[in-house]
Amino acid sequence: MRDRRISTAALFAAGLVLAATAALATGEVGTSAPGFQLKAVDGKSYSLADFKGKVVVLEWVNPHCPFSDRHAREKTMIELAKQHGEVVWLGINSTNPRSGDFETPADYQAYIQQQGISYPVLYDDSGATGHAYGARTTPHMFIVDLQGKIAYNGAIDDDPSGRKPKAQRVNYVGKGLDSERTGGKPDPASTKPYGCSVKY
């Protein structure tokens, strides 16, 4: 009994240390992408580990955010995901369920159909995954490379206000995926994301 209690305390202490270490991770380029297992709007469960050996794009989304919504209407990400069929594209919504921006699965499904979003959108209600990556805005983009490391962290493009014609924008994620395809690294690997704050 005594040994068991000591083991429990040791495990508890180790858990605290692990939790603190995880809390310090902020999604810097070159670090291992934090793992997650999240439920999608359609009820299916997705884990980053399921896509080991594939390039994964993570897009923080919020349909109530004008920036996220503009890119959905302009099909910026949808078209890019189609162009790069070899890539796994996941939308992540870290909106707190108590926030006015939170969407129920039924409403979200309707939005996804309306916009023709072709990739899974995952709920991160607790915000743990968002915090682990240091996601700050919607949209905030990450590219996870074949080795499971973060290869890009930042904005989708160089046009926060959407003032430029689409063809004239520098799409950082598109450029990064092209580089990944040819065995290179995204350049730039880090940009300042723009948009609404994530509603943690």
């Binding site: 305390a9 202490a13 810097e28 380029v29 004008p66 006015g100 969407e103 880090s190 704050s197």
Partner: protein, 562 residues
Amino acid sequence: MRAGPNRATRTKPESERPGHGFHAGETFARAPSGDCIGGRRSLRIETRIAGSAARAALAGLALAAGWLGAARPAAAVASPWISNPQSRVRLISGDLVAPQQGELRLGIHFRLAPGWHAYWKNSGDAGFAPVVTWKDVPGLAVPELLWPAPHRFELPGGLEAFGYSDEVVYPFRAATAPIGGRPTGGPAGRRTALRLGANVDYLVCAVDCVPYRYDLALDQPLGERAEADPRTGPLLDRWWRQVPLAAGRRPGPAGTPALASRAEMTLARSAAPGELRLTLRLPGVTAAPGGADLFFESHPALELGRPRARAADGGLLFEVPVRRKDTSMPLPATTAIAWTATGLKQDGLPTPLALAARQELAVPTADASAPASKPSAPGAETSPPGAGRTGPGRRVRGFLAAGDPRVVALAAVAAALLTLEAWGLLRLRPRRRTAAIADGAAPVRRSGRREAAGFLVLLVTLGLLYALSLEISAEGLAGVELALLAMSLVAWLRRRIERSGPARLLLAAALAACTILPPWLAGRNRLAADPAALRDASLAVGGGPFRSTTSTTAFDRRSFDA
């Protein structure tokens, strides 16, 4: 689907888009053509003149002004306000009459609804800075935007934004010059007015964000001599004074050199892997009553964290955690860091002061977290004098170079919990003791071996606290120690309560709080890296050569009181 503040934006058909990423009306609005008229036409909007006598007098004045070659409006030179639910915006000039050749002071004036904010040049974690695009005007250089000192806004999830609430004027410095182009009116070769136009693209946020874009315009009368506008002039002056003082620049219209200060910036390795520590020392100033703050422009390679300010050596010391944005690439040998310090108090100055500079710093080398570090060839290593000297302090610091004070604090908590467990104070179920007492048996005695183990773990706890004392402030250490003491007290009290109930639950919650508190305190009270000590530590643990770098900027402090 529930209607949200911006829901309408995505229900509109494609054809309704005005060529901008955001829709007209809700998240995008453009002033109707011809509405944004300032200058003389704005008189009819902003000034009510009653009676024909007044009108006759005004006509006489206008005639006289025309005779003198200057068009002089009797009220603010400003475009009409354009309003939306979150903000109002207009273009203003500080001069009723601007000189044919000389400085022209302009501003984009915002009034924001309660709770909403507009952004500084670095918007912080979210948002974006306003973009102002001026229409080409012959004889007018492109106006330069001067950013007033920003404020910090806390957002959900520990995020933060930098900007302005309630009201802000973004001042612009422009210059008129003799034209090579066509005159805008009056006698041949002389202009009597400039038609100024600006396209303003901005974002306002509370919790939600709404972007807008407007075209603003005004007619700026010109004359031989500048004449300040009695309404917009003082307003512009007030915001101009909030533009941080910059080295070698004269930001205020009535600035006079008064004082001088030296800012010392240091970038050094931190105890945490992959983290740097930036310190900025501002001698001769204290924090103004509202508090001092430090802001950075966005940096391509470094993530500059939340600063902490404290009084030190007759000045202010800011400490900033810095992380690399890309750990797979080596940092450049040097980098420029642009900063703005606000809320500074200087004896003799009636209002808080803001300073700004862009400083070139060498980046510390031999970053332990750099993955591409090359192994040194045998015999190739050169040891600087003193490299072989080691001591307990240096070893501990060397050990800490691979850790974070928050993790050390957490380890101290874990060790303290193990101590309490070894001494039987963390027993989860009180039943055994109760049952033992009820049976008339003596309380269970802890074995000597176990108690000794408790003392050993206590020694580890004390060692960790010593290690922590090298990395956090004395106040922080005292807080950590008090938290550990409180944890022991709570555990003891909890053990004394025989029955399960609210009191035991409350004490369990208090125990949990006591375990969380030390890492938090360690994070908040982390000391700035001492370059010399870190160099020693780096050498002692074989971390390679280390450079801490300092850059100093001299400021001309100016008083802007006219």
